[in-house]
Symmetry: D2
Subunit: 249 residues, 4 copies
C-alpha cells in the first residue's frame, strides 16, 4: 500500500512516475492538467549544463568511483539557497502577495506593499532577473504557455505578470521573470503545495545528475575540471599572495 492505494494493483503500470511523485507529496493523484504542469517544470530544470553542483558531483565520482550514490549526494548538496532555493523563495513571495489581495486591495497594491517590505529589508525579489538571459527567460515563457494551454493559469501567474510590470517603477530597472519564478507560479496555480516546492527542483536535478554521472563514467572530465578550477585561482588575483603558498603542499 502507498498512500492508501494498492501499489501492485493500482499504481505499477497504471500511473506514470510524475503522477506517483505528486501522490507521494500530496496524498492524491494529479489531474491531467496538473501532471502536464509538473512535467513541464521538471523537464525545464533537470539539466542546465556544468553548473556548480554538477561540477562538484562529477569531481566526486572521479575521486570516489566506487560509490555512484556519493557523487549524486554531493551534487544534491549543492542544491541549496543560492542555486535552487530561489524557486521556493519566489513561491513564498507570490503566496505572500496572494494572501493580501482581497476586499479593496488589488494585486497591484498588494504587490507594491510586499515589494516595498522586501526592499526595506534589503532582500532581493526572488524569481526575477537572470545573469545570462536578458529579457524574458524562454523557459519561463514556455511554462506560462503550458499552464495556459491546460487551463491552469491562475492568480499566481497574474501576480508574476504584474510584479514584472512594476519592476522598473519600484526597483528601478526592468527585471523579467526567470525560470525560478515561473516554476512556483505555475505549480501553485496548479494546486501543488507551497511547502513542497523545494522538492521539484531537487527531483529534477537528481535526474540531471544521474545523466551527467553516467556520462562521467564513460567520458571522464572530473579531474580535468578540478585541475582547471585550481589553476584559475593561481591566476585570477582574487586570493592574496599568501594563498598560493598556503594552499599547495
Amino acid at each position: 500500500m502507498v498512500r492508501g492505494r494498492n501499489l501492485t494493483a493500482e499504481l505499477i503500470g497504471t500511473i506514470g512516475f510524475t503522477d506517483h511523485f505528486w501522490l507521494l507529496v500530496t496524498g492524491s493523484l494529479p489531474s491531467a492538467a496538473q501532471r502536464r504542469v509538473l512535467d513541464a517544470t521538471l523537464v525545464a530544470i533537470a539539466e542546465h549544463g556544468l553548473v556548480p553542483s554538477v561540477v562538484a558531483s562529477r569531481m566526486t565520482l572521479a575521486a570516489a568511483p566506487e560509490a555512484l550514490q556519493g557523487a549524486v549526494a554531493a551534487g544534491i548538496l549543492g542544491c541549496g539557497s543560492v542555486i535552487l532555493g530561489s524557486s521556493e523563495a519566489a513561491g513564498r513571495f507570490f503566496a505572500e502577495i496572494a494572501a493580501r489581495v482581497g476586499g479593496s486591495r488589488d494585486v497591484e497594491s498588494a504587490a507594491t506593499e510586499v515589494i516595498g517590505e522586501y526592499r526595506l529589508g534589503k532582500r532581493a525579489i526572488p524569481g526575477f532577473g537572470h545573469p545570462l538571459h536578458k529579457g524574458f527567460d524562454p523557459r519561463a515563457r514556455r511554462l506560462f504557455e503550458v499552464a495556459a494551454e491546460v487551463g491552469c493559469s491562475g492568480p499566481h501567474a497574474e501576480i508574476a505578470h504584474i510584479v514584472g510590470k512594476l519592476m522598473p517603477q519600484l526597483v528601478g530597472k526592468p527585471l523579467a521573470i526567470n525560470v525560478s519564478g515561473a516554476i512556483p507560479a505555475v505549480l501553485l496555480d496548479a494546486g501543488y503545495p507551497l511547502q513542497a516546492l523545494k522538492g521539484v527542483p531537487m527531483l529534477a536535478r537528481t535526474a540531471g545528475l544521474i545523466g551527467h554521472l553516467l556520462e562521467e563514467q564513460q567520458r571522464p572530465i572530473g579531474f580535468v575540471m578540478s585541475h582547471a578550477a585550481a589553476q584559475a585561482i593561481d591566476y585570477d588575483g582574487e586570493t592574496p599572495s599568501g594563498f598560493e603558498s598556503g594552499e599547495s603542499a
Copy 2:
C-alpha cells in the same frame, strides 16, 4: 539545447519527466512502450516505507532542519550495494547469461554455467529471494505483466524465468525473483542500457525521500526513531557489556 534538442521548443510541455530522464541517460527519446516500462519500475520502488535510508534521512532533517538537501543527500547515501545495488547486480547477472547464449548453447545451459560460477565464488544470486515476500514478489509479477502488455518481453525476462525454475535444483531451495530482479529484466528487454541501471532506483528513491521529508516537516518522527534505535541497542544483547558505558556520555 539538451542532448541536441531545443529545450523550450521541443521538450518543455511536450514530453514528460520520464521521457526526459530516458533522454538524459540514453541520448534519445523512449517509445511509448519503453516509457511505460520505465514508469512502472520507477513507481514500483519509489516508496518502501521506513527502510534504513529513509530513517537516516528523516533523522538528519530533524537534526539539521535548515538544509532539506542535506537530508535528501543522507538518504541517497544509503542507496548502496546492499539495498539498491542488487538491481544492477541482477542486471549484470542476466546480461552475463544472455552473452553466453547462442550456437548450440540455450538459456538453460548458459544459466546453469553462470549460476555454477557464482556458487563457486560464494556469491549470492542477485535478484532472487526476499526476506518478507515468500513466493513471488507481487511487484515483480506486475512488472513482467506490464512488459508483456506493451510487447517488451524479451530474452532477459525469459532468463529470469528460467533461472527461477532452476533454483531448487541448482541452489537447493525455491527462490522466486524479487523486485530487484524484475526491474533490470524488464528494463534491459526495453532497451535501457545496462550501465545506467543504478540510476533508476536512485531517481525513484529520491522521489520517495522527498515525500518522506515533507511529511517529516509536518509530522516529525526523526527524534522518536533515533531514540528507539538507541534504546534497541541497550537491550538486545548484541553489544558486549563494555559497549553501553563506552557509548553514552
Copy 3:
C-alpha cells in the same frame, strides 16, 4: 607549504594535529594554553553515544558498506542547527553581550538587555539547559576548570557565569550552562575566532563517527537500529492511522 610554513621541515613531526587544526583555521600556531583549551573542547564532544547523526551514519554504512566516506558524510549532515549548531549560537550570544559591555555598562546590564531581546524575539537562550543533566553539566564545569588552569579564563566565561545567575530572574527557571555553552565561552576566551566555532564540533564529531563506523564494521547494529526505529513508529501513536498503510509496501 601550508599557511606560510614548510610542511615537511616545520610541521610534520613537530606539531600535533590540534596545533595543525588551529593553524589551518587561524593562520598561526596556538600557544600551549590555547592548545589545551581546544583539545579539551574537542575531547568533550567527540563522542556522545547513539545520537541521531551517529545512528544515521551507522545505518548508512549497513546499507552501503562499500563507501565508508558516504557513512561519515551522512553523519556529518546531521551536525546542523539543532544538534551542534547551538555552540555557534551560544558563541554569538556571548559575543553580542561582550560587545555591549563598556563605559557605564557592566556585564549584568548588557546581559539583561540581550536576554530581553532574545525573549522578545521568542528565541531560546543558546547554551543553557540540558534534557538529561539537571543542574550543571559536568563537561561544562570541567571545561571552565581547564580554562582557568591554563590562565585562559576571560570575559566570555564571566558572561556565561553571570547569565547563569540571571536565569531564574529573567527566564523564570534555573537553567545551567551546558557543554554547548561552555565550548564557545572557553574557546573565545582563548582567542579562537567566533566565525570558526562551527568547525570545532564538526571535527570532533568526525572522530567520533569514525570510531563508531569502525565498530559497525565489526559489530553491525545498523539494521537492528533501523528496524527498531521503524517499529517504534508503528506503535507510538504519533502517526495517524493512514500512515502505516501509506508507508509500507
Copy 4:
C-alpha cells in the same frame, strides 16, 4: 563514560584530541611514541591545496551557504578509492607481505611474490609513485624519520624500503614510496589497526576542509572555480561536438 573511561574526570583537559581519536578507534590510549606517529600522519595529509574534494566542497558552500555541514560532507564524499583510499590499499599490501614472512621466507622473497601477484592481476602497487614529486616524496621521508626518532620503526617500514628497492627490477621503473605508502607503514609499525587506516586520512581531510570552508566564507572562490571548470571543458576537446550543445540550456 567513553570506552570505559570517565570523560569528565579522566579525559577532558587530561588527554589531547589525537589521544582521544586513538582511544575511540582502538579502545586504549596511545603511548607517547604512538601519539607522535599518529600526529605526524594527520599533519602530513590534512591540507594538500585545491584537490578535487576541496574544490567540490568550496563550490558546494558557494551554492548552499546555509549549511556548512553539507559542504564538509561533499568534501568527505570525494575521499574515496582514488584519492585517499590508497593509504588503506598500501596498508593491506604491506600487511600481506608481512604475513608471508617467516621460516625460510625473508621480506625480499615475500615481497617479490606479492608484487608478482599484483602484476598478474594488473593491479597497481599502492603507495608508490607520485604525479608531482619525482623521487622520494619529502613528506614520506619525514614520516619515516619521525617513526625512527620515536623508536617505532618496524617490519612495515622495512617492507616499504625493500619494495622500493625491488621496483626497478620487478616493475621496470623506479617508483619511490609516496605519502600514501608511508602513512600505513609507520602507523602499522606503531600498532595502529589495519582495518582503521581509512579513518586517518578522513579525519585529517576534515580538518583541511574546515579550514578551506572558513576561508571560502571570507574569500569566496567557489563560483570562480566552477566557471573555470565549465570553461575548461568547452575548449579541451575531450568531449565530442554534441556535448556543448547537449549540456547547456
